[in-house]
Amino acid sequence: MSITFSCDDKDTLISYLYGEIDAPVRKAVEDHLAQCAACAAEVMALGGVRSELGLWTPPEVELDFQIVKKSAAPAATVLRPARWWSTVPVWAQAAAAVLVVAAGLSIANLQIKSGPEGLTVSTGWMVQTAAPVAAVSPSSDEAWKTALVSLEQQLRTEIRAAREDQPRTASSTAVDDATMRRVQQLIGEAEQRHERALAARFVEYASDMDMQRRADLQMISRGMTNYQSEVLRQRQMLNNVIRVSGTPQQ
């Protein structure tokens, strides 16, 4: 069975061009090219293109790629104590949040009133005590009275309980009194020491002042003596001059 090649068989032509072709097929192509000038010219032209392709070279660049191994040390692990709330169930956290809000509202004494002046929102104990009594309606007056009676009873109960607790705190009060006495004693002693030191300083200062005063008096006395002697000497000299000049003495 002979193998033939036709001009339209471009796949076989490419195989022949690149040399990836079996020997019998190569022989058939060569036989065809010997007879077909067009196919022979095409093969020559495509071979020339392949030669020209060899002129296209990539730039000579330094690549030097390398796989660099990262440090094998594991990432630092910081151990922290577990947050206490992270161990509490969600429902418990929600319940605690509700309690906190309720406690805050009770501390703030939040009051919402609806009256002739409209809706009134007030917070704080001072607002309650400063509210004018006249503005309270009779129905709320009864409620206030009830509340005041309740408060009075609560205060009496607390005062009674405080009185009952007083003997139990007597020992601690005695200790406090002894401490206070000791402190007062120490303060008194310190004050006495300061007074004695101050008196000694004052005596010493007075002595110094007296000595200085005596020294000053002696110096003044000597000065006066010298002055009187000088005045007497000048007077005698003046008398002598008058006596010699015969001028009557004034």
């Binding site: 471009k10 796949d11 690149y18 020339g48 030669s51 392709l53 296209w56 990539p58 030097d64 790629f65």
Partner: protein, 181 residues
């Protein structure tokens, strides 16, 4: 692990220039070709445990590189740009080439290289890739078919059509002095 890195670096040293050349000829930009080549080796190293040796290592590398080139072309949404290497001094190159090649020959060769590169730019991606793999990397038709995921006959058709377009382009540029094989 250190041994794997060292061994793989030996493979990188062996294949970095072919992979770079492939990327350069497919996408036509030096810097981008370097990035593609570098990413090729990084991906290959990461995927190394999954490489069971069912294919040649080179074919496996080419597949990764070609996929990256294809992604680059899609991302840029433009045809590859062929650029001349920056900083090429013709006179300096002439002195390095020795006395066999004159400056005139070198200039002519660079000009022909530029014309060829422009012709390659005219080709569709599949034809250009097939020609690059066949002409510059010596892959068989079957290997190219496997890389491009197409039948063997399609590879031959792409090669024939690509070479024919290049032939017309070169003839239009006055490059008709083809040498016989």
């Amino acid at each position: 692990m250190a041994g794997d890195v060292d061994s793989f670096n030996q493979l990188v040293l062996r294949w970095e220039r072919p992979i770079y050349a492939l990327a350069y000829r497919v996408i036509g930009r030096d810097e981008d070709a370097r990035d593609v080549a570098q990413e090729t080796f990084l991906r290959a190293f990461r995927a190394l445990p999954g490489f069971k040796g069912q294919a040649k290592f080179s074919s496996w590398l080419y597949r990764i590189a070609l996929n990256l080139c294809r992604d680059w072309i899609r991302r840029k949404k433009r045809t590859p740009v062929v650029e001349m290497p920056e900083g090429v001094d013709v006179v300096e190159l002439a002195s390095e080439q020795g006395p066999a090649e004159s400056i005139e020959d070198l200039v002519a060769r660079n000009e022909m290289s530029r014309i060829v590169a422009e012709g390659m730019k005219l080709l569709p991606d599949e034809q250009r890739t097939a020609i690059v793999l066949k002409e510059y990397h010596g892959l068989t038709f079957q290997e190219i078919a496997d890389l491009q995921g197409c039948p063997l006959s399609t590879v031959k058709t792409r090669l024939y059509q690509g070479l024919s377009v290049l032939r017309k382009h070169l003839e239009s540029q006055g490059m008709t002095s083809y040498r016989e094989q």
